[in-house]
């Protein structure tokens, strides 16, 4: 077939991201700004194009407006192709009815006709809430070499964090013999990264069978239903070990940490490597203007920023304004955030286009807390104004102007 592709990527970007609270009120999780000039989805999309995968279906469902607008025709990622390219796949109405995506497996099932158009040998399933740089082509070679039905990318996690993940049990050669979703007492540290490569015929068979299963405990989910079904049938399931940087950014704390990781010279994620660029949609803003009273250290700053205050250990997105005598430390400022003269922002995430007025104080340093247990990152949502002199306590999440 003219349009044939060896491997098609399906990117699950429908996640509401409810654990990001105020930050996902207006956008889906994968569209949350990250790392100064990116959105979370830039990482899997850039990985795809850098790995030679030029056909990507992006499955959206929750708050799709910003995401659709952001992805557009895919040009920023070089995914505007004559054949293939990036396609937004929203739930649609068919003759048999209209359904929201009910689970990750169901979302792919509803879009089998998209995949079929490219007649692929393999399908790679990705999620839109992880920060990492990975060559999917190497994983695909591994999958082919093993003659696997499915290959799951895994990473070693600390044993005390293992209960948050799907945990694999694999033989020396990588073949998986058991899998437990979020075990309370984990006995292995091989965590699923939520990246699956399937041989397409097998994927189609299992998705179709899963769809027929009308039992109540079918959640139509890869981790809960599809992978266990493959194991039950003794299909060849392999774990592909990844040892680079990988971080789930599904919570306020992990989002904050992952941003801070980019600033930390000891953390191995390099955004300055010309051979593996992370692409993003460019806002056409002028260079950053650093004023006479500015003091910036240990921070990342991008285009359109105007900085005249003090910035330390912080991540500043495009168009951020920090006035003279404003102090920003250990914080993430999303696009268009404005910190007025005399305001103080510590250990906080400030959402898009929000304004922190004179004398307001957002967040606190953990060492300034009488009780450390009450400490946490403070969050100000999108389009919010914190008026003069107001205080936002640590851990507090502000979703309306005060």
């Amino acid at each position: 077939m003219f349009n044939k592709k060896e491997c098609v990527a399906m990117l699950l970007a429908g996640g509401q991201g409810s654990r990001l609270y105020a930050l996902t009120q207006k956008v889906a999780k994968p569209a949350v700004p990250f790392g100064g000039k990116y959105r979370i989805i830039d990482f899997p999309l850039s990985n795809c194009v850098n790995s030679g995968i030029d056909t990507v279906g992006v499955l959206t469902q929750y708050q799709p407006l910003v995401m659709n607008d952001y992805i557009g025709n895919g040009q920023p990622w070089d995914l505007d192709r004559v054949h293939g390219g990036v396609h937004i796949l929203a739930p649609y109405q068919s003759q048999t009815g209209a359904d929201w995506y009910q689970g990750t497996a169901n979302a792919i099932y509803q879009n089998l006709s998209f995949i079929e158009r490219y007649d692929p040998e393999y399908v790679i399933i990705l999620s839109g809430d992880h920060i990492y740089k990975m060559d999917y082509d190497k994983m695909l070679s591994f999958h082919k070499e093993k003659g696997a039905a499915a290959t799951i990318a895994v990473i070693n996690v600390p044993i005390d964090e293992a209960s948050r993940f799907g945990i694999m049990f694999a033989h020396e050669d990588g073949q998986i013999y058991d899998f437990v979703e979020k075990p309370p007492e984990p006995k292995s540290t091989l965590a699923s990264m939520g990246i699956y490569i399937f041989t397409y015929d097998i994927l189609k068979k299992y998705l179709t069978e899963n769809e027929m299963d009308e039992s109540e405990n079918n959640s139509k989910d890869f981790g809960k239903d599809i992978i266990p079904a493959l194991l039950r049938d003794n299909q060849k399931l392999y774990a592909y070990r990844f040892d680079g940087y990988w971080k789930d950014v599904g919570t306020i704390d992990s989002l904050w940490e992952a941003n801070m990781d980019l600033i930390n010279p000891n953390i191995p994620i390099d955004l300055y490597d010309p051979s593996w660029k992370i692409y993003s949609r460019n806002p056409a803003l002028p260079p950053q203007v650093i004023g006479k009273s500015a003091k910036i250290q240990n921070s990342m700053v991008t285009e359109g920023c105007v900085i005249d205050g003090t910035v330390d250990f912080s991540m500043l997105s495009d168009g951020v304004i920090i006035e003279k005598d404003a102090i920003v430390t250990d914080s993430i400022l999303m696009p268009g955030a404005v910190i007025r003269s005399g305001a103080k922002v510590e250990y906080a995430i400030i959402g898009e286009n929000s304004e922190i007025c004179d004398g307001a104080h957002v967040g606190r340093r953990p060492e300034d807390m009488p009780n450390r247990d009450e400490w946490g990152v403070a969050v100000v949502g999108q389009d919010i104004k914190i008026s003069s002199g107001k205080v936002v306590a640590p851990k507090e999440i502000i979703s309306e102007s005060i």
Binding site: P76, A284, L285, Q288, I290, G291, I296, S299
Partner: protein
Amino acid sequence: MGTSNMGKVLGLVFANMHDSTVKDLTKARTMGSILFGGRYRMIDFPLSNFVNSGISTVGVITKYNYQSLIDHLGTGREWDLSRKKGGLYLLPPFSNVESKLYRGRLEALYGVLNFIKSVHAEYVLMSDCDVVANIDYKPVLSAHIQSGADITCITHTGQYNTELIKSSTVLSIDSNNVVKDVLIGSNLSGVCTLSLNMFIIKKNFLVDLVQTAIAQGRYSFERDILQSKLGELKIVAYEYSGYFKKIYSEKSYFEANMDLLNIDNCKELFTLRRPIYTKVRDNAPSKYGLNSHVANSLVADGCVIDGTVENSVLFRGVNIGKGVTVKNAILMQDTIIGDGSKVQNVITDKNVSIANDRTLISSDDYPMFIGKGASV
């Protein structure tokens, strides 16, 4: 859009005009591809101004050294000029067997006359690449139509130094903005009205003017049309009063870059309503390390700064090592300053690399220039 005439305008950019005024910078490139303001090239200003004014058919006239320009422009997509109808046309010299390297604007136009004739347009708007400005051409065209002018010249009036005036065409105008006198290379000083070498003219009329002039062996638009035909033609000035800087020497290039350190100038030039577009390089944000100290500077993305930077312009991908001091400098794309070096009053071209512990200090009134790809 139905009421706007901007769709009937062909934009023409002269990429090589005035190359000789900044010889160091144009050694391997055109005036239009000179890097400016941290992340731009000079041609970004006329192209963005055209596009923001609703002009979507643009021809770029080149002469030589245009490889860097071709790289920069690509398909024109970054300026939204990759179109099915109209879009960006790169017009190299030698478009027909008789054409030769042009001597002036009229010969340059003659070389691309077939292109001009073939474009569906009623008006032509010409611009060079030596002016840094953010101009809305819509009111200029309206004024041109309303005044019934044969040619409208965009002007800027102010107090300028003699060198700038000498490099420009100076107009004297009456109370109705009609041009009464045209001076080229004059020794005037004080307040005067400069032509920005941006002209609006009816397409068919321009074609006639060019054909007649070439038949008579004339090639200078300024001398042989504006000056010589002042009595016959109605030439009207349109005053642009926004941000304006002209590049007419290396010193003026240095000063124009430094002028953007004033935030008010920056805001006026890069107004959000009419963005200046440029080629996207997909650099990561800039990283300010421990012990970095940056003040009064313009910094593009992709820089890694571990030293002190003051009163300087850093282009994309510049690397400032530990213990470095950079003052009053323009460091173009991918310049590397090694640990412990001191750099003052210096312009480095692209990909310049300065080793550790070097001192490069020039005088305040004349910046040192270090050519493309040099290692010090």
